[in-house]
Symmetry: none
Subunit: 180 residues, 4 copies
DNA sequence: TATGAATGAGATTTCATTCAT
DNA sequence: TATGAATGAAATCTCATTCAT
């Protein structure tokens, strides 16, 4: 999962990411992370000062992966939105762990300010894009509300890969139907 | 032992419920639960054998509370759905902790079979009702898909009380618009 | 295992005796003892003040059962000894739990004075009988030593019912051979 | 880490061994073991994963110490047996704790498979040696039975150092008398 | 960079015992 | 006699973190 070029720190973050998907943030143990990378427990602390720091790094890692699905700028709004939701549904199917981790982080963010900062920044960017997209759609009276519905739907379906295409597909249809 | 008040066990479950909302399942400590009720740590184990049992009881408690929002049977489908989503939005505003706990439990259910059993049963019942409702709507071609969209939207917005009315309201509008 | 006539206390002692055979003195739990008799944990303390007292009662119970094998007084020494060892071998085969419990108590006696008192009294009586018996045998130069050998052999074989007849039988033969 | 002295683990096992002799397996507390060595309770778990593992190590330690008394191979059977029983009587006098611990382990072995494995292996080896020795004696008709008598006598007298020489001495005499 | 050893704080659970009813 | 509820003391084990090497 990690090519020879990555830093020890990167390896550790990647390992932690995988473990969170597996056992949850609750079940994350530094011992396991170190084991997964093949170094000693105490050596881990040389690369990552504290567990909180590692979790924050995992959050950043997740945010970076999510950025992949940003809608293409050169397409007309309808198609851009469709492409975006398509990319999300695809990612949910391809890398379900990413969304498990994201769900974990959303919950953790409520109590951990440093995680919240990362999660919020990511979500704010996403929201902005969505609002812009909907504002550009003909006939959409309340772009903000529509954007929120999209966000909610994605968050609500992200843990169930089987349903994601259906749900997100339906969302596109409705949008198209209601605005064209 | 139930003088209109509540059993010790019920008190403990209620206290645990509150604590989960506050600090997450991850942060739940039996010491705290016992303190909240005003009994000794060891006495807690007299009423609830194990931590797992307490968590399961919390899950059942949450499921019971959610059952409150069941759509009324005597109304026509459109209005029943609207009433249901309205009740949900209301509950999200009134008792946000319930939805924090629910979100926690959804995640925990992925690793804890006894929690999963409770969560799955609740969700299955909800899904059934929603599918039935949508099937009764004129012109809905795919009731199952629509039901999933509703479920996803609720799950996706349950942690953000401010947005719930907007998002769920929009969902009703779309449904109405698309099917009437 | 207990007829309708026995006292609650007797029932409790009998139950404790059985449990010690099963799980050792180390594994003895008052909860289990109470359960076995069908009364509440706290009710047990009405009949037996403390766990130590119960253990002491078990020791007395065991001593009483061992007294069964006392050699008959009317027989000549050789035959009396043979009969005694035979009875012991028989009891080891019939009621192995008695000897498991006895072994447990021997060890406990080293740290628990009240158990030691019971165990020592029983053993002293046994020793006296054996010394008397050997003293009455023709040609035994050191009755005390021989008595100790018998005691040691019995204690050493009591946990292995299969070997008891062999070992104790051989002891009789040797005694007979050496003294007749 | 072994400068001629001993590993932390070895120190811990030795300390546990001593404590078992003192307070029994039942009274063995990890806190005490750690204290005896001068390290923190939690550090103990760094060297010995679990209490069960420590107890098993104590059993192995005891087995190793018992191996000391193995009869010399170069002597004729009579003398080898006498030397062996002599060595045992000597060890019982010199290191009585070893035999207390052994008695404790014998009882524990009935419920703890990992202890049983160690205890059984040790006893099997001892038995084999004894049977071989008796088979080599002139005129012994049933070497196995005689070996069992020896084992029983040793086990029966191991907790009473004062009697060990007498009882085991007498055993040698009888063997000599009966077979020569 | 890396490790072995150590630590301290804490968590769940067990159990004999007590007390009011 | 009997019980439900409560307690306190203790025990094992876990885990992030630190420090000397």
């Amino acid at each position: 999962m990690v090519d020879g070029k990555s830093t020890r720190r990167e390896q550790l973050v990647a390992a932690a990411f995988g473990l969170v998907a597996e056992v949850g943030l609750e079940g994350l143990r530094l011992r396991r992370v170190a084991d997964a990378v093949g170094i000693d427990q105490s050596t881990l602390h040389y690369h990552v000062a504290t567990k909180a720091e590692l979790v924050e790094a995992v959050a950043q890692h997740a945010a970076a992966l999510l950025a992949t699905t940003a809608p293409p700028r050169h397409l007309p709004p309808h198609e851009a939105l469709a492409a975006h939701l398509d990319a999300l549904a695809g990612l949910i199917a391809t890398r379900p762990e990413l969304f498990t981790v994201t769900a974990e982080l959303d919950l953790r963010a409520r109590r951990d300010p440093s995680v919240r900062a990362v999660v919020d920044r990511q979500e704010a960017g996403w929201r902005e894009v969505l609002v812009g997209l909907h504002a550009a759609l003909d006939g959409d009276d309340d772009p903000a509300a529509r954007a929120e519905l999209v966000i909610a739907a994605v968050k609500g379906v992200r843990l169930v890969p089987d349903l994601a295409p259906t749900v997100l597909g339906r969302l596109v249809e409705q949008t198209t139907g209601a605005t064209r």
